[in-house]
């Protein structure tokens, strides 16, 4: 090691290997990712964000939102649930099968649950799951390994019922309600600059619009975070808003604020275009489509739509107690509770 050229070659070689490994090879593998069909649906995912949301990404970048918020949900694994989508016609056989696949379930409880499931859905024009739906969740078993789930499904289908396996990603981030599955490379192919973030000073935003789809909430939260989240450590972004004199009539966009924050009479506070763009971007944040590389089951099951991803433990899995007819189905609550 006493020759300059040799030293140069050594360093060149070392850096070239690293460059080959972490620049060239990843580019060859994931640098050309294209949108792909969602699992079970002929829909391409992801779609490019709308223009206003793209402008919002620039506001997000300029003000360093990614310094405190990540957009990467992690998962620790996947489990399988078993869902009963059709109780079939042979009730005694299905009950026997139920008792076989779910030890600890009593016969009256199984019968009551099946009968409750068989009731027709209440008449409604709204296709979304309703809290008034008296039927219990059709979720039968939770947290199984694939082989166990397959075996249970085989027993139930043998008895004339229709059961299906649903794939459920699990992990602390998902249990927190930050998403339904982990983020994968494909989620981000249209984003520049990519704002993955490296620190969770604030909550993860990868699926923000699923949690909080209300634009007004976001505007108020940007103007005065503590209005919406008690004790929030987020700085207010009032420079995204302007205080102006009310001309002939008040702006429809004017912020409705509590008295201590409200502008003096004759004035109003309206979001600047940047605030609108930022909120449009925040509302475009959603990465929960089922993909080949991140599978999950989202297909609504007849009888209890969306049951597979219900956050709380549904009737049968919570306890062995039978589901009382009329008990509200836990899966029906949409996940638009505000961010914790």
């Amino acid at each position: 090691m006493n020759y300059g050229p040799l030293l140069f070659l050594a360093a060149f070689f070392a850096l070239a290997t690293s460059w080959f490994g972490f620049v060239l090879t990843p580019q060859a593998q994931i640098g050309q990712l294209q949108p792909a069909n969602m699992l079970g649906a002929p829909t391409l995912y992801p779609q490019a964000r709308p223009g206003l949301a793209r402008q919002g990404l620039e506001v997000y970048r300029a003000n360093g939102c990614a310094d405190c918020h990540t957009q990467q949900v992690r998962q620790s694994g996947t489990v399988c649930d078993v869902v009963l989508s059709d109780t079939g016609t042979n009730l005694p056989a299905v009950i026997t099968a139920l008792l076989k696949v779910k030890p600890g379930l009593s016969e009256p409880a199984a019968r009551q649950w099946l009968e409750a499931l068989r009731q027709p859905p209440p008449p409604t024009l709204d296709p979304r799951p309703s809290t008034l739906d008296p039927r219990p969740s059709s979720l039968l078993l939770q947290g199984l390994k694939p082989a166990e789930a397959d075996a249970a499904v085989k027993v139930l289908n043998g008895a004339g019922a229709k059961a299906a396996v649903s794939i459920v990603p699990v992990g602390p981030d998902l249990a927190r309600g930050w998403g339904k599955r982990r983020n994968v490379a494909r989620d981000f192919i249209f984003d520049y600059p990519l704002a993955l973030g490296s620190q969770r000073i604030g909550p993860d935003l990868a699926n923000l619009s699923a949690r909080q789809p209300d634009a007004g909430w976001h505007l108020r939260h940007l103007y005065a975070p503590r209005l919406e989240v008690k004790g929030s450590a987020m700085p207010p972004y009032r420079f995204l808003f302007e205080k102006r004199k009310i001309e002939r009539r008040p702006s429809p966009d004017a912020m409705v604020l509590p008295r201590d924050l409200a502008p003096p009479p004759g004035y109003e506070i309206v979001p600047k275009p940047e605030a609108g763009a930022l909120v449009a971007y925040l509302l475009s944040l959603r990465a929960d489509a089922p993909l080949f590389e991140a599978p999950l089951t989202v297909a609504p099951v007849p009888g209890a739509a969306g049951a597979t991803n219900a956050p709380a433990a549904p009737d049968l899995t919570a306890a062995n107690a039978p589901a009382a007819p009329g008990a509200t189905s836990t899966n029906a609550a949409p996940t638009n509770a505000p961010a914790k």
């Binding site: 070392a14 972490f22 620049v23 990843p26 640098g31 990712l33 003000n63 249209f190 004790g231 914790k340």
Partner: protein, 497 residues
């Protein structure tokens, strides 16, 4: 071959390069004269950037006490002052002072004058112009959004030209060396010299000029940040360590082969780190990155052993009073701590907890400030008096700077690391509401403000001493010129005023 002996021939031991050595005095004085102007410019601007950094860092830190602090103006929002502070620190201080120390060592160890000192000075000016424009751009909302590469694209040409003007003449100085045998430090510094333009141009081209798609942006940004923070800073910092430790303890380096080993490990495996285990990329990337990071343990051990054997107990009395040596020792110690924290944070069971928490920033700060900046402070306190032939005007401030900087970085990094682990552990259980987790970390963040404050005071002391030295130098030089003209006698510029 006796490893110690390999350090001996041609008076290569750094301990023979002192001003005390009368045979080398004239040669050393002419070398120093060639470095004086560019080094003064580089060190002074680095110190000025450091003060600016701590101003922004303090503002960012106080926002954790009161989120509404200075929140009314866009340019003072957390998401702008925070990257302004980190960019000013990395590009304004770290790279700049690292280059200054490298240039001086390349000239010293090669026993040759610094090539084209005027062009190097011009390069330093370009560099500072670029960083100024860049930090201004970050505050104006033009940050790029890529960590460690926040300075906007329009600042890049100036920074790059500045670097080339400095780096090319640094490499030429290395080429023109009259002492052909290479000392350990020269490997590190020479590799660092050309490492930066490659990683910087790759990152600039693939992130800003011809942006790559999706997650590839993050992969390249992680690769760049890791190469800058853990390869460039390590190479440039250890180059200085392997010169300063033997020099300041007046002993031979123990030993050359250990240092060579560390050099190779850092080059080969250090450059493979940086991709976090939680990243939404194919799994081989974080796995490979973890392997590379874990292998750098060997380099950490080699450096630690080498410095321990050289400067361990039993040194000459008075080493405790040697302030530059204290800075360097503290730096090496933190180098080991930061290096092991980085290794730990790359192993999946640990990274499941520490990823996406304050643990990462704590490691980065400990590495960039606790190791690199401290070693560079030591180097500056050692080099500048030799360069100017003058003592620092306020020696007490040097001591104060040491205590402020070392306490400051401990008070900054330790609470952040603790906050990171607490936060990570609490986030593992979904029963802990997110706001509760945030509240757990806030006390730690508030303690770290004290660390920021101490560091800021230290930086003011550093800048004051440097400015005082420069202000004293020119009157002394004029006086000596005057006396040389009038008395027709040579009087060295190093005379005490």
């Amino acid at each position: 071959m006796n490893p110690t002996a390999s350090c001996q021939p041609f008076d290569l031991r750094p301990s023979t390069f002192g001003l005390q050595d009368s045979a080398n005095e004239a040669a050393a004085a002419s070398l120093d004269a060639s470095c004086r102007l560019p080094l003064l410019v580089l060190f002074m601007s680095a110190a000025a950037w450091l003060v600016i950094t701590s101003g922004f860092a303090l503002i960012a830190s106080i926002k954790f006490h009161s989120p509404a602090f200075l929140a009314g103006r866009a340019w003072l929002t957390y998401g702008r002052v925070h990257p302004a502070a980190s960019s000013a620190f990395l590009y304004g201080f770290c790279l700049q002072s690292g280059l200054a120390v490298s240039l001086w060592l390349l000239a010293r160890l090669g026993r040759t004058k610094l090539a084209q000192r005027w062009l190097v000075t011009l390069g330093a000016m370009f560099w500072n112009l670029g960083v100024t424009v860049g930090v201004w751009g970050v505050l104006a909302g033009d940050r790029t959004g890529f960590e460690a590469l926040e300075l906007p694209g329009y600042a890049t040409p100036m920074i790059f030209v500045g670097y080339l003007l400095i780096g090319v003449w640094g490499a030429l100085t290395f080429h023109q060396r009259r002492e052909r045998r290479l000392y350990v430090s020269q490997w590190f510094l020479f590799a660092a010299l050309f490492w930066f333009p490659w990683i910087y141009s790759t990152a600039q081209l693939l992130l800003l000029t011809f942006p790559v798609r999706g997650v590839m942006q993050s992969v390249i940004a992680w690769w760049y940040a890791d190469n800058l923070r853990f390869v460039w800073l390590w190479l440039a910092g250890l180059g200085a360590v392997f010169y300063l430790v033997p020099k300041l303890t007046r002993r031979d380096l123990q030993n050359r082969n250990l240092a060579l080993f560390a050099f190779w490990i850092i080059l080969l495996f250090g450059s493979w780190g940086g991709i976090p285990n939680s990243a939404p990329v194919p799994a081989w990337m974080p796995a490979l990155s973890a392997v590379g990071t874990v292998l750098t343990t060997v380099a950490l051990l080699a450096v630690g052993l080498s410095v321990w054997k050289t400067a361990g107990p039993g040194g000459p009395a008075g080493a405790r009073e040697n302030l530059p040596l204290r800075f360097v020792r503290f730096g090496v110690l933190t180098f080991l701590v930061a290096g092991f924290m980085r290794v730990l944070g790359s192993i999946p069971p640990v990274s499941n907890v520490t990823d996406l928490t304050w643990f990462g920033p704590a490691t980065d700060q400990l590495d960039a400030y606790g190791f690199f900046a401290m070693v560079n402070f030591g180097a500056a306190y050692w080099i500048l008096p030799h360069l100017m032939g003058l003592e620092f005007p306020w020696p007490r401030l040097v001591r104060a700077h040491f205590w402020l900087a070392s306490l400051g970085i401990v008070l900054l990094a330790a609470p952040l690391a603790i906050a990171g682990v607490l936060e990570g552990l609490k986030l593992r259980s979904p029963d802990n509401a997110f706001m509760e987790v945030v509240k757990t970390t806030l006390p730690c963040l508030r303690v770290s403000t004290v660390g920021d404050l101490f560091m800021a005071l230290g930086h003011v002391a550093f800048l004051a001493n440097l400015a005082g030295l420069a202000a004293r130098f020119y009157p002394v030089r004029a006086a000596s010129l005057f006396s040389s003209l009038t008395l027709d006698l040579y009087k060295p510029a190093g005379a005490k005023p």
